[in-house]
Symmetry: C2
Subunit: 215 residues, 2 copies
DNA sequence: GCGGGCATCAGCCGATCGGCTGATGCCCGT
DNA sequence: ACGGGCATCAGCCGATCGGCTGATGCCCGC
């Protein structure tokens, strides 16, 4: 079954051997697919993609030594023929949008059923976009809000709250510090999370440092 | 009562007018004290301290436009005669140790009873150190642990966890990402909090950026 | 004068976090 | 061989957080 002439050829990229084995086994035991190789990080992936010229690359994000997003960007830049199907563990992954912007054809969660995975790979091979429901809904909301989810300036009050958060101040303490209620602090936080495109205070602080809002 | 020749002269520094009024009223209605002036930030405080030459400066930390710690450092550097008594709202304040290092003579919480406050000011005027119990216990634990609570290098694993925290990853997600249990993630976090001298993930991320561990 | 951004507040809820206590195994340096 | 740093894990608990829904008042620009 590995020499099916019409088979869709695959490259598997994941830093976890267990996952690679699982995927390989799954696709090798199904008709219509052929696994050409495996890579354990983004750099390897780019090299192998050039050497093996697969139809579809199943790619994890967040790998030591060459992140997935960078690899996708590189593949896109060099005009690789392969379609990239991102296969990640959590939809909460903050790299969702960057990955798609970088040129990923699809974005699935690892807990997707086998059949859904097969269908997704076939769809990706044809260039059709496949998104898991959670990611899809996130995308529409991102589009619905035309603001660049990154360059939205924070209000003075929001920066003030953020600065205190960076010092390890709790919401209640921030409230007393600024003479407002805890509810208001939470509102400010919710707003600045949205503006920064993050989901908790730790990531907000990190993003703020990256963008020179703090520091 | 404001022209008592033996009165202890005071400078009140706090960004909240309410607090300044409260302190002024408290000390003006008590014998043995004379309030020379008020400042609402650190810069003002340094200037007024030079002009008025008070015995004791009651200083809040965390003020807009010139933080309290910087002001204390400046006063110490210029060899001001005044003793600085830090008067802050929470003992959770992360500036506790820096303030004392900078040269503060005492450190009290604002909810201290009047008499305790008076006694503290008298003690400060004589150069004796006064610490609120919470701060005192923190100090001993800081001394008990001879490591500089700031320069303790993180282990590779701790840095790994911290980097994920900065991306907004939850403990559970980090656990799966690194193939360890959530309990272990929490252990790493507790350790790196101690090493960085912070109390939550947001402050850890901020400190890591400040020290170029991240970014 | 109306929409919209901003700041303020309320209450509920489940999820997550952080503290505490305690334990095991590994490796390294003395 | 012993101590110590590191990594791993458990369970309990209260505190905190973040999401959700909804509301008010202010000010500004069109």
């Amino acid at each position: 079954m590995t020499d099916d002439a019409a088979a869709i050829t695959l490259l598997i990229v994941d830093d976890h051997p267990v996952v690679r084995d699982g995927l390989r086994g799954m696709f090798e035991s199904a008709p219509g697919f052929r696994v050409l190789g495996e890579a354990s990080n983004g750099v390897e992936a780019v090299a192998l993609a050039a050497a093996l010229d697969p139809d579809v690359i199943l790619m994890d994000l967040r790998m030591p030594g060459g992140g997935g997003v960078d690899a996708i960007r590189e593949l896109t830049r060099t005009g690789a023929r392969a379609k990239v199907l991102v296969l990640t563990t959590y939809d909460t992954d903050s790299d969702t949008l960057p990955a798609i912007e970088a040129g990923a054809t699809g974005y699935l969660l690892k807990d997707a059923p086998r059949d859904e995975l097969f269908a997704a790979v076939r769809a990706a091979a044809e260039g059709r976009t496949v998104l898991s429901p959670a990611v899809a809904s996130r995308l529409v909301s991102a589009v619905r809000t035309p603001r660049a989810p990154g360059n939205d300036p924070l209000s003075a009050r929001e920066r003030e709250v953020l600065a205190l958060v960076a010092k390890g101040t709790s919401n209640r303490e921030i409230a007393r510090e600024l003479f407002i209620s805890e509810a208001t602090v939470k509102t400010h936080l919710t707003h600045l999370y949205a503006k920064l495109g993050v989901k908790d205070r730790a990531a907000a602080v990190a993003t703020a440092y990256e963008r020179k809002i703090l520091g």
